[in-house]
């Protein structure tokens, strides 16, 4: 047991790994701080680079980059009212109002310190919950996994958008994309149309780089009024007054972290949703709700913790079941499979040093966030002055080469570009992209478990409710599906009376 921990320490504090973590931190801080570049994009851009690394440095790069990016998205939000990443959008107005009142350093400091606190909280939950769940998951058979994946996909559709219908459409499209190729229980080439490249299916990595990075670049290129990022505010000492805030708002910090971790653990719902829900909750339970929106730090404390704890929470289902908690972990799961660290309960039993290494990485990432984030705030004005009209073409070329690098085939570049255009078109029409990505990532798992279950039960559907855990999961999933319908029928029945 302790030898695994020693191994983990050895892997994490290896000099190469430390250099990777520092590089990834700077990358994450930069990407988060520039509006138009998102944390998911940062992860997607890292995949071609980490493809060539050993598993632990690869994961280290992704964990560190995303933790930093989710924090540094607060910086332009606070100084320019333009969130650097969607996760900071929930409290951008509040932070900007504080800057206008001359309190920029408090807003930024709160964002920094309580992001680290939230992240550490989420990591502790990860460390406690994941092994417990893994023990539980060892009892799972194909029936349970089928319902779990289905429940996860259902949550993703219903939570991530107000009108689930369009989310359902993109989910089906994602699942259909996953059907392309030989990778099905019958090993029958589906939808390949004679193309040898399609036999292996549509590459997940080019698809994700296209959907998250290329679509943003398209959006930037056709933007008729790109705003100049000029910071005028003065920033004082960001750490001053943070302890006083921690003493004043302990409940908020705890509540934000707990909500963030839970929302992060729900498939499809990530840091951005966690931040919105947390901000709304903060306002609802606040003793001074009227101050929200005028430049009041309470909401920032709570949702700042929430979005970083969501990052750690998302790893719980990802590591234990291979079901991504958010789009970032969807990409990471792809990387884990490539590195032969297949997520699942056996990861905890056969190679626990890898899991311990992941915990250590999370802890270190959240701790180095404090000094590095502080430096980032100091040079924020300079970062924001990097010309995006030079940056975006370079990122696009990087994406093209990155997509090529995975399989050395131009076909993947084509997939990436097509995915980018389709994602741009879909998002313009209100279709959320996250269910599509989840469908692509989980489609294979869903079908494999469905087909093996049906073969085992000889076609009987009742077998899906035969085992106790499977029955519970099945009932919960069906309940989530039919709840809106039942609610509507119920209110219609009650109202006339």
């Amino acid at each position: 047991m302790s030898s695994a921990w020693l191994q983990a320490f050895g892997m994490v504090f290896d000099p190469y790994n430390i250099v990777v973590m520092l590089g990834a931190s700077l990358f994450g801080l930069f990407v988060g701080a520039v509006p138009g570049l998102t944390a998911t994009m940062a992860t997607a851009l890292l995949v071609p680079v980490t493809f060539f690394m050993a598993p632990i440095p690869a994961i280290a790069a992704m964990v560190t980059a995303t933790a930093m990016a989710i924090f540094s998205g607060d910086i332009p939000g606070c100084l320019l009212r333009m969130p650097g990443t969607p996760a900071s959008a929930a409290y951008t107005d509040e932070a900007y109002a504080m800057t206008k009142k001359g309190l920029a350093e408090i807003a930024l400091g709160a964002g920094l310190v309580f992001s680290a606190v939230g992240g550490l909280f989420g990591t502790v939950v990860l460390m406690v919950a994941a092994p417990t769940l893994a023990e539980f998951a060892l009892k799972f058979s194909s029936f349970e996994y089928f319902w779990l994946v289905l429940m996860g996909l259902t949550c993703a559709v219903f939570i991530s958008s107000e009108r689930p219908l369009k989310g359902l459409v993109t989910l089906f499209l994602g699942l259909l994309i996953a059907c392309v190729g030989l990778g099905n229980p019958a090993a029958f080439p589906r939808f390949t149309f004679g193309n040898a490249e399609l036999l292996g299916g549509i590459g997940m990595v080019p698809l994700m780089i296209g959907a998250f990075a290329v679509s943003e670049i398209i959006r930037y290129v056709v933007d008729t009024a790109p705003q100049a990022l000029i910071v005028e505010a003065k920033i004082g000492n960001v750490f001053k007054g943070m302890w006083a805030l921690a003493v004043k708002y302990p409940k908020q910090i705890l509540r934000g972290s707990v909500l963030g971790t839970i929302v992060g653990a729900l498939p499809g719902a990530g840091a951005d949703i966690a931040a919105w829900m947390s901000y709304a909750m903060s306002k609802k339970f606040s003793k001074e709700p009227e101050k929200f929106g005028t430049g009041h730090v309470e909401g920032i404390v709570e949702s700042g913790s929430a979005n970083n704890s969501a990052l750690a929470g998302a790893w719980i289902p990802a590591l234990v079941f291979g079901i991504p908690g958010d789009s970032i972990t969807a990409i990471v799961i792809g990387v884990l499979y490539m590195k032969n660290m297949n997520p699942g309960p056996t990861l905890f039993t056969t190679n626990p040093q890898n899991i311990y290494a992941v915990y250590l990485l999370f802890i270190i990432a959240n701790l180095i966030m404090l000094p590095l984030g502080y430096l980032c705030i100091k040079v924020a004005k300079r970062i924001l002055r990097v010309p995006r009209d030079v940056l975006m073409p370079v990122i696009l070329l990087f994406c093209v080469v990155g997509a090529f690098a995975i399989n050395n085939t131009g076909f993947d570049i084509g997939v990436m570009l097509v995915a980018g255009v389709i994602a741009y078109l879909l998002e313009m029409n209100g279709f959320p992209i996250t269910p599509l990505i989840l469908g692509v990532v989980l489609g294979g798992m869903l079908e494999e478990n469905l087909v093996s279950s049906l073969i085992k039960s000889d076609g009987s559907v009742l077998a899906f409710f035969g085992r106790p855990i499977a029955a519970t999961l099945g009932v919960v999933t069906l309940a989530i599906w039919f709840w809106p319908l039942v609610k509507r029928l119920f209110t219609r029945a009650v109202l006339p009376a």
């Binding site: 071609p48 680079v49 493809f51 060539f52 219908l165 369009k166 359902l168 459409v169 089906f172 499209l173 699942l175 259909l176 059907c179 099905n184 229980p185 019958a186 029958f188 589906r190 939808f191 398209i218 290129v221 056709v222 933007d223 008729t224 010309p387 009209d389 030079v390 975006m392 073409p393 370079v394 696009l396 070329l397 990087f398 093209v400 080469v401 090529f404 690098a405 050395n408 131009g410 570049i413 084509g414 570009l417 078109l425 313009m428 029409n429 489609g443 869903l446 079908e447 469905l450 087909v451 049906l454 073969i455 000889d458 076609g459």
Partner: protein, 165 residues
């Protein structure tokens, strides 16, 4: 380009129909009731139902907007950049330059194609050529170094094969 939900619904229903017909031809797993057609078939049905609901919703929203006398509710809503030449040029360059890369990089080599790629895109984003060209050359060389030398990705040399390093 924002299309009315009804158009999306109709397109999805057509797609679902085509998919469903296509998967009927899939062979079954010998001795089993379920085959490779099960999942795509079920998804096609689901997509068809969602398409139908979107279609109805689109028609209903259009009727509602018309009734309220609003300006929207058309079949197609063009994005604001369609009327703006610099952005149209930008998008056009984006498409052309990527096609050029896909079909030309093996013949021309990465360094040449990459430089043209970056230069053209920066020009389309209205970066003055005097800045764009040197940046394009330097960044292409940097990306080439990172991927070719450090990550050993076989980027094509093309025309520069003779001076390959």
């Amino acid at each position: 380009m924002k299309l009315n939900d009804a158009i999306w619904g109709a397109a999805l229903m057509v797609l679902a129909g085509l998919l469903f017909m296509h998967v009927q031809a899939f062979p079954a797993i010998p001795g089993q009731k379920i085959g490779p057609s099960a999942m795509p078939g079920a998804l096609a049905i689901g997509l068809g139902i969602c398409g139908a609901m979107l279609f109805l919703r689109g028609l209903r929203e259009r009727a509602q907007v018309r009734e309220a006398g609003g300006a929207g509710g058309g079949w197609i809503e063009l994005p604001d950049w369609f009327a703006s030449p610099p952005q149209i040029v930008g998008f056009g360059v984006l498409v052309v330059i990527n096609l050029l890369y896909l079909f030309g990089v093996d013949r021309l080599g990465f360094i040449a194609t990459g430089t043209i790629y970056l230069g053209a895109l920066m020009w389309a984003l209205r970066v003055p050529l005097i800045r764009a060209v040197p940046i394009a050359i330097v960044m292409t060389l940097l990306i080439h170094y990172a991927f070719y030398k450090l990550l050993k990705v076989p980027l094509p040399w093309g025309l520069l094969q003779s001076i390959a390093w």
